[in-house]
Structure formats: C-alpha cells, structure tokens
Assembly symmetry: C2
Homo-oligomer: 331 residues x 2
C-alpha cells in the first residue's frame, strides 16, 4: 500500500499493551489493518519508559503504513487491568509492576498528539472480534481470551460493557467450584473459571496428575527436554494419550460452564473463544459445544453460536483502534 490507498478513511491507531510485548497497528474505518509492529514492552523499566516504548511502537506502525501521525484520526490503547475507565487510568496491573495510577490515555495522547482512549485489553480484543472478526454482524457478543489467565469481554449492541466499577466482564473470576478443595488462581480467589481453564491451569492440572504418578506419553516428552505447555498437552491428548485426553476433555467442560454461565446472564448471539489454546482446532470446539448443550437451558443451547476467534493476536490492536473509532468518530 502507498499511504493507505484502497483502505477506507479515517484511519485509527490501535495499541495492545502486554507485560511482555506491545503491539501497535494502523486500522481503517472497516477494521482492516494497514500495518502492525510488535516490540518488547520492557515493563520493568517503569512507566515513563513504558509510555515511550508504547509510542515508539505506534510511530513505527504509522511509518510502516506509509502514513504520518497527522493522517490518523485517534488512538485506542488496550491494557491489562485493574483500571478506572471513568478516570482513564491504569491502577496497578500485575504484569506491569510499578505502573501505579498511570493516566495512560493522557500520556499517549500527549506524546502522539492524538485523542486517545484507554480500554481493558480483553474488552478491546472482544470488540475487535465483534467489529472485524468472528462476531462481525452480530448484536451481542461474549468473548473468553484463554492465556496465562482468562480475560473476558462483553459487547452489548455495539457498546463495550464496562460495568459500574470498570469490573464488568471479569468472568475469568466467576466461581464454578464451590467445593472446599477448589483450586486457587493468581488473584487469590478460589474456584474461579481461570483456576481450571486458563493455559496456566491446564499445565498445572497436568503436572499434578503426572506428579501423582499417572502414566502418560508426556513423561518421555519432558525427559527429552520439552517444556510442559498447554500446546504439548493438547497435542498429546488428540494423539490419544489417556491422561492428556482427560485434561483436554475436562478443559472443554470447564470452558463450556463458563459459556453457559454467561449465556444464562447475558444471553448473547455468539460466544467467542480466543487465545493460544484455540490452536487445538475444530475437535476441541466440538467438545466445548457438547458440554454447552448439556449444561444450558434448551433455547440458548439451541440458538447461541459458539465459535473460535478469527483475528489471532491482531484482535487486541484492531479492537483498541475500534474503541477510538467508537469514542471519537461515531456519528
């Protein structure tokens, strides 16, 4: 492309801030990306350096799209929480240590000379899929992003549901296990969806079974130096390893319970799963759907679409750009 030919103006900048990397991209008015750039966040060097890295990544993305900042309408930033969306500050994200009460939208706006809006990263990713991915054309969408934790986003009729204390769509923390032996997650809560079905939890549950002496082909994989990851476990499961298949099956069940609980609350058109774990593909999705049908009331069980995301790791910056469009460019 030369300066955005063939794309629909106005153009928006989207930034997906993570603890490890920051990804920025230029997106057109239909959610189509013109460019993207990813750089290490270097979060441990503190918030001032972090803001500099974020804006450097954004400038490189603009350059890569053969544009200048004056061609951009506005910028959206997706960040890990907790945050105060009314105040547009991040409070103290676990994986951005020392970034405390940072007015990130204002800082980015000042640096880039563009209007800027801050949004929760999982909300932004959900908005990306709603606007330009798996949820295109739907009305109401719920998304689960499966990674170290489980992020969720809720889009109601085109609007991001933020909640009254910026804690809407924190459904990775809904409690699905009331037993006294419920698992613990990183936030210190017991029995949460995230403690069972995040990639971290898949690895932990498998490791516990291996430690308990359950036989598995994973043992020889680990002895040959491979690291125990959700991907390795899913591959072993679909290759017929008994322990790994059981873990995969249980994970599908837990994820279905998460979907059902939001279906019985939000009742969306569509439930989207995203994140590395969806690389497991169609057979895994079918197992999730099986358990959704088993656990949901008949009408939502029959009518709700259950799908995997389409935008991969681009959903974050595309959705963040969409948030800028929603806030600053909506008619």
């Amino acid at each position: 492309m030369a300066g955005g030919d063939g794309y629909k103006r106005p153009f928006f900048l989207g930034i997906d801030l993570g603890g490890t990397n920051v990804k920025a991209g230029v997106v057109d008015d239909t959610g189509r990306p013109l460019s993207s750039v990813s750089l290490p966040t270097e979060a441990d060097r503190g918030p001032e350096h972090g803001v500099h890295r974020i804006c450097q990544t954004a400038r490189e993305a603009v350059l890569k799209a053969e544009l200048t900042l004056s061609d951009l309408h506005s910028v959206g930033v997706g960040s890990p929480g907790p945050m105060d969306l009314a105040e547009q500050i991040i409070i103290n994200p676990h994986n951005l240590p020392g970034w405390i009460n940072l007015p990130l939208a204002a800082k980015v706006s000042e640096n880039l000379g563009l209007r800027a809006v801050l949004q929760n990263d999982a909300n932004a990713a959900a908005y990306g899929e709603y606007w330009a991915g798996a949820g295109r054309g739907c009305h109401t969408l719920v998304q689960f992003t499966l990674g170290t934790g489980i992020g969720t986003g809720i889009i109601l009729g085109g609007q991001i549901w933020e909640g009254r204390h910026s804690h809407g769509a924190e459904a990775g923390h809904i409690r699905i296990d009331i037993s006294p032996t419920a698992r613990l997650n990183g936030t210190g809560l017991y029995g949460s969806l995230e403690a069972y079905a995040s990639a971290t939890a898949v690895v932990a549950r498998t490791q516990e079974a291996l430690n308990a002496g359950e036989p598995s082909s994973l043992k020889s994989s680990l002895e040959s130096g491979q690291r125990l990851t959700a991907r390795l476990i899913f591959e072993a499961g679909f290759a017929g390893d008994l322990l790994a298949s059981r873990i995969v099956e249980e994970t599908a069940f837990y994820l279905a319970v998460g979907a059902v609980n939001l279906m019985h609350t939000i009742d969306p058109d569509i439930v989207v799963y995203s994140g590395g774990m969806i690389a497991a593909g169609g057979p895994f999705l079918e197992r999730i759907k099986h358990y959704v049908r088993e656990n949901a009331l008949p009408i939502p069980a029959a009518k709700t679409e259950i799908v995997f995301a389409k935008l991969g790791t681009d959903a974050g910056f595309i959705g963040a750009a969409g948030c800028a469009r929603l806030k600053f460019a909506a008619a």
Copy 2:
C-alpha cells in the same frame, strides 16, 4: 384516596402472574401503588380462563383505586417464562400447564382495551425494586428472587436486559458446582445456583441431612406436625440448632457466589435479594456479605452494595406497571 388524588398521573396497571395467584395493582408515575388485588390464578383451567382471571383481577384493582379503565395509561404483565419477548408470547411455563405459545400481551390488551406489554416475572420484580424500591436512584442493578426456584433480573442504566433469546438474567441456572455429584434442579440442569440456594433446595438439603441421621431440634418440630420449610429451618438456625445453622451458613455462601458471579460479569451498583427467605433479616444478609467479600475481586467487593428488597410481594406488579411506563410513556 378518591380517584387518585395526591398521586402523580399517568397511572399504570401492573399484573404479576404466578402459577397459584395473580396480583394486580394500579401504580402512579413514581411507582407508588394506589391499590392491589390478589386472586387465585386457577391456572389448571387453561389459558382462556386464565386470561379472564388476570383481567378480572386487574378490573378489581382499578375499581379499588376508585378509577375506571379509561384512567389507565397502559398495562404491564409479568409472567413466568420461558417466553419470547420479541413475539410477546409465553411459550410453555412449567407452572402454567397447557398455556402454550400464548400471546398474553395481545390477549390482555384486547380484554382491557389498553396497550399491554409482557415481561418475565423476575425481570419485572427487579425493575420494580430499581424504579421504586431498594435500587431507587441506582444505575445498574442485579436482583435474585429466592423462591421455589431462583429468578434473576438485570437492569442496565434503566433498561431491562432481556438477552438475545429472551434468556438474559436466567442466573438461577448458572452452574456453581462442577463436581460429578452436583445437585440437580427442576429444569434437569446440574450444579445450578438454584439447586443449592432456592427455598426448595434449602428444604431438600436439610431433609437429606435429617435422613442421614444428623441430630437436630428440627426432628421434634416435624414430629409435632410442623412442615419443613425454609422459614422453619432459618428460625432453628438462628436459634442455635447446629444442623440448621450449617444450612443457613452454606446458603449464605451459595447466594454470595451467585452475587460474585454477576459482579464479575455485570459489575452493578447494587445486588438485591428478594423473596420469602429474606425474612431471615440482617444477620443473614451479613453472612452473605461476608462471603461476597471473600470471593470477589477487591474493587467490586468494596464498592458493590448488597441489600435486601424493599417492596415485598408488591415488586412484581409495581415492576410490571413500570415496564408499561418504560415502553409506552417514556418521553
């Protein structure tokens, strides 16, 4: 009152349809009731007779308010589900046997000569508390109505969240127990909130403990001819009976998990509990709040109000009248 003196016009009719009784009332523009009448539904005599009973109850309420139907602006009907709100029909409510695919709003409208709107009963009750009860002045409210089952209602910025298939706010059916021994509820779903914390479930859990031979003062109450009810169990619990106290404590925990799961999804200003069980009063509410604080993320745990409803059994018809106002009279 004589013909509504001292009340703010316009006036609305509200109808709360249940399997046993139908309650109707006239409500003013601020949610204040002028009159109410309750009659047996006689649901087993079929839908045609049922519509007649509903409208008879409504006419008596109008008469009692010293008004005529021409003084009424419009009418709202709260009914058990499942229903199709887009089509304004009830599908096949469990406790209205044979009332299948009934266009209830149209039937009531025709009979009374007023514009009519149909709403889910738990949604209507939640709207009643939002408009004129425990939630007055708030923005976003979640309500749990504890009875035979658990009905829920979600009010987002003054609008009732119905969901895309009229199954929003069916949070009595969220799954909170993923164990293989999870309890079953009336709809055939395992591990639902309703299977643990409805009045029916409180009685069932207590009966099972008694059957298992746990000692309790409830035994002599039953031998003296009293019926095992949630009320009897709560009274015994607060009087120090060990078995009953444990049941009360566990119920507070389950209800807190329900609240937390909606706080991590909707993130409302306020969570309201209504229904017979709240007669247990302040000490019970304190136990629920204790478990909410233990299970919620810090910000919603600190900021969300957890309260008991204020309108008692009037919430249904007041809320139904509010639905008519929302649909037909909002500026």
